[in-house]
């Protein structure tokens, strides 16, 4: 029941073009059966100000996180959420959002933890759809509950935990935060509140590639060639590498995970969602300050 893929020429260059659709494709298919459009934003009210017709809202804080444990929802909660949004296991899901699809990529990564088969991002996200003057509405759909099977969350292939990162020291790692966060000058992005980390810096050996470098000015992903220049030529990564990406809580690094995994075809990329709010506070883990990746201390644990 999956919808056809977008055959756009720019998308066709990517390793997995079936993970993206253009605004044009979505405008053509927005009313199709078997498709649910999901908006996921940083600002929890943005959806209410207007959204793509028929789109449902999934909020990272309220819908995808467990309320008490620092973890994602479990299989039962996810199935319940999907059902309420009218999403079945066969449904094609297209996710879009604000800020270069930053939170949309995070939502997609959580869908991937549950192995939802057909989930795609709208290239350019909310801002491109709006900039093109496409239809928006404040009508909130009331989807008929769908039947979604309760499945297990499969963390291991795409999610890394602190102990795994410790064991990974010395292997490729990408820190996707801003420069001042990487050097340790700040513990949150410029203009955002300093929050929650006792020390500033980065994980030893991690290279700095701020996540938004992967986005063009219009919020779409850079072309495959441009992305290869950044991650493969400039940073020396290869698609066969075992790579871990992290940021502050795992949201910006989901965007980079999407780029490495789906656009460049790296098949062994994990997102460390504990990220700096865990690592920067953890007892007896090493950090590095300054602009250089830094050496991994032998016997670091």
């Amino acid at each position: 029941m999956a919808l056809p893929h977008d055959t756009d020429a720019k998308l066709a260059e990517y390793a997995h073009p079936e993970r993206l659709v253009t605004t044009e494709w979505l405008a053509d298919h927005v009313k199709d059966d078997g498709l649910v459009v999901v908006e996921s934003d940083e600002d929890v009210l943005l959806y209410e100000t207007g959204h793509i017709p028929g789109a449902v809202k999934v909020d990272w804080h309220l819908d995808l996180n467990d309320a008490v444990t620092r973890d994602y929802v479990d299989g039962e909660q996810f199935a319940e959420l999907m059902s309420a949004k009218g999403i079945g296991r066969d449904t094609t899901v297209v996710i879009y959002g604000d800020k270069n699809n930053w939170w949309a990529a995070y939502a997609l990564w959580v869908f991937a933890l549950f192995g939802h088969p057909d989930v795609r991002l709208l290239d350019g996200g909310r801002s491109k759809w709006q900039a093109e003057g496409r239809e928006m509405t404040t009508d909130v759909p009331s989807p008929a509950p769908a039947d979604y099977p309760v499945g297990q969350r499969e963390d291991a292939p795409i999610r890394a935990f602190k102990d795994e990162v410790l064991a990974h020291l010395g292997k490729p790692m990408i820190d996707v935060r801003s420069e001042p966060e990487y050097t340790g000058e700040r513990t949150h992005m410029p203009d955002y509140p300093e929050e929650g980390a006792l020390r500033g810096g980065h994980i030893p050996g991690a290279q700095s590639v701020p996540w938004a470098r992967a986005a063009a000015d219009d919020g779409t992903f850079r072309t495959r060639r441009e992305l290869e220049e950044i991650y493969q030529e400039e940073k020396g990564l290869s698609p066969g590498d075992d790579v871990i990406a992290y940021c502050r809580i795992g949201e910006r690094s989901s965007h980079t995970w999407f780029v490495l995994n789906h656009l460049l075809g790296f098949d062994n990329v994990r997102n460390y969602d504990g990220s700096w709010t865990e690592w920067g506070n953890a007892v007896r883990v090493p950090i590095v300050k300054g602009a250089e990746p830094g050496a991994v201390t032998v016997g670091a644990r």
């Binding site: 600002d43 929890v44 009210l45 804080h61 309220l62 203009d191 955002y192």
Partner: protein, 151 residues
Amino acid sequence: MTATTTDLPAALAEIVEDFGALTVPDRLQLLLDFSRGLPALPARYSEHPELLEPVPECQSPIFLVTEVDGAGPDAAVHLFFSAPQEAPTTRGFAGILAEGLEGLTAGELLAVPDDVSHRLGLDEAVSPLRLRGMAGMLGRIKRQVREKTSG
């Protein structure tokens, strides 16, 4: 859920009661109304954005400035906010403070409890993390008022 309002100024108490009377989804709609109702900056500030103070505790950029008529605890306080349309949650927080605090005396404003943002029943609607932005705004408003009335 009923939050304490007896220690709040009347306008703010009314806002807290209005939120408390609604279901969670309707609270979001009310927050959106506050976002839409946030007054535009008067020209003396819109033409001089450098006069406004940024509030980095918010996820999205917001700037605010206070004016105090005179000095001492009885001086009336006026509030001005600037936040982009793409940041409705932040605008909504600003709208609540604009309506709830406008025209209070400096003494009344400084007595507003710092935890008022958690009495709106929004913790479950927007998440506690996002509400930190509102506490950040209130903290900065109070600091400005303290500075401007002590001089």
